[in-house]
Symmetry: C2
Subunit: 192 residues, 2 copies
DNA sequence: ATTCGATCCTAGCACCGCTAGGCAAGCGAG
DNA sequence: CTCGCTTGCCTAGCGGTGCTAGGATCGAAT
């Protein structure tokens, strides 16, 4: 029986290796460079092994996205819990969100730009995604303002952050003015 | 000499056909379905003909993006010029922007999600893109509020619209509540 | 020791973006 | 009117992609 346990452990270990390697490769050279061949070579297994863990490349992207969502949720919670007062929390949240996107572009892409085959905004959304949204909701809900649904407010604020993150990284917005943009966003949107 | 003119005309005509066909195919079946082979077959020429007009697939995407930018700029101008007062203009602008993105998803992707090899936010940005941003600036600049740089305000508002557009279309946001989101955005961000 | 099942690799499919090289049609020159 | 040449186009193919079928190998259980 313990033999089987060991094999399961090794298998789970290898799955983590695949996801970590995919993420690393994507972060180093972009998702275009993450091919099944290269990935297989890096983990020192043959290509078909990948398909014994995941249905296809899309699912690997999805796994990276889930990891990233958990990480982002933790980062947001850490930042907001260290801030005093609603306004400081929202500002910290916004800065942390944008910084996460800027420092982990490949992971951010996996979460929001690429198709990882994940469900969103419905009941079978994976827990890490729900939790990341919950982290946003915790700090943003308290500044939604009277008569404004916290969920709706969170969606709009989140969309603004997402727009800033993607447009900046794609070169559509010059990156220097990030800070004044955040201030404007918080000043206007949040009811403090 | 007129023979040469005719040939140039025919060549330009064919280039328009390529771009229009690429757009059509992308809108019908998504950009993944726009392969050089399929595109060549649809225009009833062989693959290499595409490369006598464009350096590669990326440039074809870029051409679709430029077309789309011109169209979007026109739509925004039409909507805002038909509205009375700054607030009505901003609301009309936001609705029109989101509607354009929702009705022309492939074109919107070409403009903002895919790599069309276009320069942004610098001097050699193509005219249609500058013009589309100018159309945003015209209506948004007048509601930036005192002491807020109109360009900065436009960037933030645009980012919010872009975020709403992409997150909605990717299934990250439920599409039903678009209208209240727009109202919230205009209410809070615009100084009317 | 032998059987048998799980595990993994080699090889290959259909498709991708892109390009080299040759053929044929249409032009101007004699 | 014919010849040579340029121009424009197509066939064929290269190296890459995601993914899979089928066989070899290795270890556990009898």
């Amino acid at each position: 029986m313990s033999v089987q346990k060991r094999k399961e452990r090794e298998r789970a270990e290898r799955e983590r290796l695949i996801v970590a390697t995919a993420r690393e490769l994507a972060e180093q050279q972009g998702w275009d460079a993450v091919t099944t061949r290269r990935l297989a070579e890096r983990i020192e297994y043959s290509q078909p092994v990948l398909y014994s863990h995941f249905r296809g490349k899309r699912e690997i992207i999805g796994a990276v996205a889930l990891d990233g969502a958990a990480e982002m949720a933790a980062a947001l919670r850490a930042a907001t819990s260290a801030a005093d007062g609603p306004r400081a929390r929202v500002t910290a949240l916004a800065r942390t969100y944008l910084e996460f996107a800027a420092r982990n572009p490949a992971v951010y892409d996996a979460m929001f730009e690429l198709d990882g085959g994940l469900a969103f905004a419905n009941e079978d959304t994976p827990q890490p995604l729900k939790d990341a949204f919950a982290a946003l909701l915790e700090s943003l809900g308290e500044v939604a303002g009277d008569g404004v649904h916290p969920g709706l407010f969170t969606e709009v604020f989140w969309a603004a952050l997402h727009g800033l993150a993607t447009l900046t990284r794609a070169g559509r917005l010059p990156p220097e003015d990030t800070e004044p943009r955040v201030e404007l966003l918080v000043d206007r949107l949040a009811m403090v």
